[in-house]
């Protein structure tokens, strides 16, 4: 009796094993002659929540249009980058994947050039170079773009008597002080969800643009060729540390999570956030009447003007060794259709990354993008000017700087060492 049970169990284990094998083997078949597409592809994205759902919905529609195909959308959320790194290291990539700002630096060896795609000439020009390889081949389809400025709670600013736009960093500092005093410390001038670590880097990364790259006399060249004087980073981080010392951040800066930022913003307990337009969507889920505003980043130098940050947000590329390139291209073309781009962008109040014939309504941001239409856009600092892999250090050391564990000099030294190590490893 016992033996029989054992053998049944063993057989069952084997069956699962065999089924697993065939399950993974049966996927790849493409009809190369091509009228009707056939086969199946996998699509990996770092999108979560509503955006992930929309990608799934659009993929379902695509499958309906092409009855012979199946597609699987995988959205691992916060683990996306880790999963992708492990997949890259074992050359086991999905057919289509998101590149979240790292198309050229991190993923370039895995991406298929997309120059011959019908939408290749409609890409937003400010970042087209950043999503192309060194020979100028286009690598990804950017569906939306961040046009990042300073997002604020309009009601809070009005209540505290702050007038926008804040043109210089001094205006900005004065505004922070005013919010703090006018609200008796009840309102956090800026809310950062340091419990998640990455938002701490966000303020450094965003302010680094006006500090180092927008002025006439800027450091773009030096940053790229490795001659940047990191002492400048010391002054810069001391300035931000000054904001911390003066109490311009939320009290729970090291423990708050992203959702807490959204909550504080929605309930009028925070004036500024550093997350771009996405925070507004999240805040509206808590308080539909939240009144958000947007302005460009203030300038650091007298002769300089305000600036926007600009980069692709959700962008998809095709694995160059994929066995389903035709299918993958068809999916990208489908996603690039005007109404689909519109649907995706409007769910997060972001501008489209490619020009289409269908206008996109970016909600609360519309009036501000119009008002500041003449303001220049610059690429996102760490993506364009720092080697791939410095982000984590930037966030961790920022926390240590605020808590007083390290000095601003040490921060700069760490940044410099890591910068040199990564530049060297990159060559």
């Amino acid at each position: 009796m016992k033996r029989r049970i054992l053998s049944i169990i063993l057989a069952a284990c084997m069956c699962v094993g065999v089924a697993g094998c065939s399950g993974s083997g049966e996927t790849e078949q493409t009809d190369e002659k091509g009228s009707a597409l056939e086969g199946s592809i996998s699509i990996y994205t770092n999108c979560v929540g509503v955006q992930a759902e929309i990608i799934q919905e659009l993929t379902d529609e695509w499958m309906k249009e092409n009855p012979g195909v199946t597609a699987e959308v995988v959205a691992p959320g916060a683990d996306y980058e880790n999963v992708m790194k492990v997949k890259m290291s074992s050359k086991d990539m999905p057919d289509i994947f998101s590149t979240h700002g790292w198309a050229n630096v991190r993923y370039v060896d895995f991406l298929l050039p997309l120059n011959d795609m019908p939408w290749a000439n409609d890409i937003e020009s400010t970042f087209k170079e950043l999503i192309s390889d060194d020979e100028g081949n286009l690598l990804v389809l950017p569906i939306d773009q961040n046009k990042w400025g300073l997002v604020y709670n309009k009601d809070v600013l009005e209540e505290c008597g702050v007038e926008v736009p804040l043109r210089t960093i001094d205006d900005f500092m004065a505004a922070l002080e005013q919010i703090k005093t006018a609200s008796n410390g009840e309102i956090a001038p800026m809310h950062i969800a340091g419990g998640d670590s990455w938002p701490l880097g966000q303020i450094f990364d965003q302010l680094a643009t006006p500090a180092f790259t927008t002025a006439e006399n800027n450091d773009q060249e030096a940053l790229l060729n490795g001659t940047f004087d990191w002492n400048k980073w010391t002054d810069f981080s001391e300035m931000i540390k000054g904001m911390y010392d003066k109490g311009y951040f939320n009290e729970d800066i090291f423990t708050a999570k992203y959702a807490d930022s959204a909550e504080a913003f929605a309930t009028g307990k925070a004036a500024f956030c550093w997350y771009g337009n996405t925070i507004v969507e999240e805040a509206e889920a808590i308080n539909p009447d939240v009144n958000a505003g947007l302005q460009p980043l203030p300038a650091f130098y007298e002769d300089d003007d305000m600036s926007f940050l600009n980069g692709e947000q959700t962008a998809f590329g095709i694995w160059k060794d994929s066995e389903n390139i035709e299918l993958a291209k068809s999916w990208l073309n489908f996603m690039a259709k005007g109404e689909n781009v519109k649907k995706f962008c409007e769910s997060e109040s972001m501008l489209p990354g490619i020009e289409t014939d269908v206008p996109v309504d970016v909600g609360f941001a519309t009036e501000y993008y119009e008002e500041f239409a003449d303001i220049r856009s610059f690429p996102i600092f760490d993506r364009a000017f720092l080697p791939n892999g410095m982000w984590d250090l930037m966030c961790k050391d920022a926390a240590d700087l605020f808590t007083g564990t390290i000095s601003a000099e040490q921060y700069s030294l760490d940044m410099q060492n890591e910068y040199e190590r990564l530049l060297e490893a990159g060559e």
Partner: protein, 314 residues
């Protein structure tokens, strides 16, 4: 109809009568049972030992964790590790997580076991209640305690405020926070230690305790001189396994502080994870992993041998 396998044997080319004898002998030799662990060995070699050796190889390169290119750099990563400004803080934290949890789990677990070494409905309920946290995923347990300790809207601060005290942010207090995480890890897993001790207590023959009572021993003396020595095997198991588990502590730290603020609550395992995925310094991460493996091995073997000696003496 049944075919006798024996009848078929002569059909095999090259078959001789001697072979059958040898086969039979082999099947009946004492060593034959050893084949029963071969599947386990195969799994270990392919899924643990081979990857571990590869890990040693990676630790001597400057691989970034995903590209094809990497250069052999010898022991550079190990040198870098010992020169790292945060390295000794991380070692200290890891030791607190490991040794602190092992001590707490065992002291409290033993107390619980002595307290609950009875049979009644209430005792059964208490045992179940103490064991229940074990079945919550450690990642989720970490989240729950994050909700408890959140400085704004956290359950612990609600109590402090209700008592008229200031709210505190207990998740950003450096070493204190490390102890809090240690405490929570112990809190979650004390149930396993308790169960092992309860089982150990049940194996103590009743006449030993009777004899001690007749000799006039108080219940405390009875505990120290009769029960503890007899429980030593259980203590060894508990201490060593808790030590190994807690030195590798990962999920709870990630959920509660993610090692932060800065590096203040990092352990070797969270640091390794961040080096690998965050800083893209896979060679360094692997070096730290190998270091971690070796130190856990040394510590746990040392502790094991120490307890073994006591067991023999007892």
């Amino acid at each position: 109809m049944k075919i006798q396998p024996k009848a078929l044997l002569p059909c095999i080319p090259g078959f001789e009568r001697g072979m059958l004898m040898r086969l039979k002998k082999m099947l009946n030799s004492k060593g034959i049972v050893n084949i029963m662990y071969i599947p386990v060995i195969l799994l270990f070699v392919s899924f643990i030992i081979y990857p571990l050796i590869k890990g040693i190889g990676i630790s001597m390169t400057n691989w970034n964790g995903y590209s094809d290119a990497s250069t052999y750099i010898g022991l550079e990563n190990y040198r870098k590790m010992f020169a790292d400004r945060n390295f000794f803080l991380i070692i200290k934290n890891t030791l607190i997580y490991g040794i602190g949890s092992a001590v707490l789990e065992n002291v409290v677990g033993l107390l619980y076991a002595v307290l609950l070494d009875k049979k009644s409905k209430a005792v059964g309920f208490a045992r179940t209640a103490i064991y229940l946290p074990v079945i919550v995923a450690p990642l989720i347990m970490g989240y729950i305690w994050y909700f408890m300790f959140e400085p704004i809207g956290g359950a612990v601060n609600d109590i402090l405020i209700a008592m008229g005290l200031e709210s505190v942010d207990l998740l950003t207090k450096g070493t204190t926070t490390v102890w809090i995480i240690t405490f929570i890890n112990s809190y979650q897993y004390v149930g396993i230690a308790m169960m092992i001790y309860l089982a150990g207590l049940q194996t103590i023959p009743a006449d030993y305790q009777e004899a001690a009572k007749i000799d006039g021993a108080s219940s405390f003396q009875n505990f120290v001189y009769v029960k503890i020595p007899l429980l030593l095997p259980s203590i060894t198991v508990n201490v060593v396994t808790n030590l190994i588990g807690s030195l590798k502590l990962f999920d709870i730290i990630v959920a509660m502080t993610n090692g932060g603020p800065g590096y203040s609550t990092q352990s070797l395992s969270t640091m390794m994870y961040q080096l690998y995925f965050g800083k893209q310094d896979a060679g360094y991460a692997a070096a730290m992993g190998i270091f971690m493996f070796c130190s856990i091995a040394v510590i746990s073997v040392a502790v094991l041998l120490w307890f073994r000696k006591r067991e023999v003496d007892a």
